[in-house]
Amino acid sequence: MASVILSARALTRHFGGLRAVDGVDFDLHTGEIHALIGPNGAGKTTFVGLLSGRIPTQSGTIMLGGDEITRLAAHVRVRKGIAYTFQITSVYPRLSVFDNVALAVQQTATRDLRADVTAALARVNLADRAEQTAGTLSYGHQRLLEVGMGLALRPRVLILDEPTQGLASGEIAGFKALVRSLVPETTVLLIEHNMDVVMDLATRITVLAAGRHLATGTPAEIRANHAVQDAYLGGHDAET
């Protein structure tokens, strides 16, 4: 039995009458790449919002390692090791690429800020663009910068919210290699619509539908699961 780094029990969040997340149990194993999938509106972004603290939990508990973090503010959870990268690219567009990453690096116990920032940029292949203003980067490079900032925090858990959205196919290949290189030091939780990326990268997959937990298993198990096929993969409007 693999050790659990992040877990949720009966996690719930309703918005008015909408049950965005409804009593979900979830375990993230140390060192895995875990994909979270489900049709649009399944509650994926709300669910990771609850895990990261961006959205307050209504009921249920969240544990990181052995500590309960259900009521902790988002910035405290980040310092405890949960990094979150935004679905909609959220960098500091008017600051240099260097400063964007430095803001993450200076949160860690760094001795040489400049060297550590350069190393963090090199990991996402942006080292030659350190002095550029972030807002003038191409979309793909901004996505990489966003991930680079998350990585530079040296998190225990990295939550990636649709990281390949809007990337060209060549960029996706590079991105997959990057995510693979993170484990097992970092545990990755990935929300992703691109099934090729999910099947290729994920060690395990959790499927949400209408705010509820539908299934968890290896890619092969999820492919063979009839409930999942009905709800999602086999549907006529399945997304690619």
């Binding site: 500091y92 600051l95 200076q106």
Partner: protein, 308 residues
Amino acid sequence: MRNWILHLGTLALVAVLLVTLPPYHATNLARILVLVVFAIGYNLAFGYTGLLSLGHALFFAAGVYGAALPVTYLGLPQLPALIAGLAAGGVMAALVGLLALRTAGVSFMIVTLMFAQAGYLTLLYFNPVTGGDEGLVLPDAATLLPGLSADAARATIAFALFATALIAALVIVQSRLGRTMVAMRENEERSRMLGYNPFAVKLAALALSGLFSGAAGAAYALLFGYAGASFATIQYSILPMLWVLMGGAGTVLGPLIGTAAMFYLVDIAGSYTTATLLFVGVALVLLILFAPKGILGTIRERWLTWLP
């Protein structure tokens, strides 16, 4: 490196001007330098952290009275009183920030304005102690530094305070704290998800801003021998904003340029008309239309992108 050359060079130029200018302008310059310290403080909150405060008159007045009251009633010497004023400004800003920073944007403007007005009314209410509108007359500046004339003492202290404030501001904005302050201005939600507590960072920035404002208020009272409730009026919240906007918000030297430009604009206009505020208004309209980033902000955007 070029940053230090530019800023130390500016300090040297100001020092030369103080010594060589005719007495009228040298006294003006001393007055300007003290007000620049106020503007530098305002700029830390507004220009770098994005906190649009309408209550900085309260921090300035805290400095004025934090120095004037102990001098008047306890016989505290003037130089220690300067420290007392600086501390009063910082403490006042931290206290206001604890409450006002629960709001943001327009609400923050209104709440800070409200605190400043409450401070002004408090000064009037305690008229027997504070002197209210009439104020308190403080010892002559000639007693500030033994052996120096009043003018020389003013110039020396004003320059020392200005130089300290300018270098401190330069160090702060290039530090990790400075980078974090800018991060709050640019994208607070992103900063939270990098592990920063927005409230704590903004409180620190506002308290720092209050220290500068308090030091400026204390120096203004001590150098020019007067403390009054008028320093807590809305005018003293608006003025630093105008100086910073004119010089360039979020630039280290902008407050110096903006304050000097505005001071002489009013001074020169005053020799032709009593409607000096009209000139200030026209200058601001032109600025917003043609150089919304202020004088130095525009220069930085076009030519000197490395300016801090």
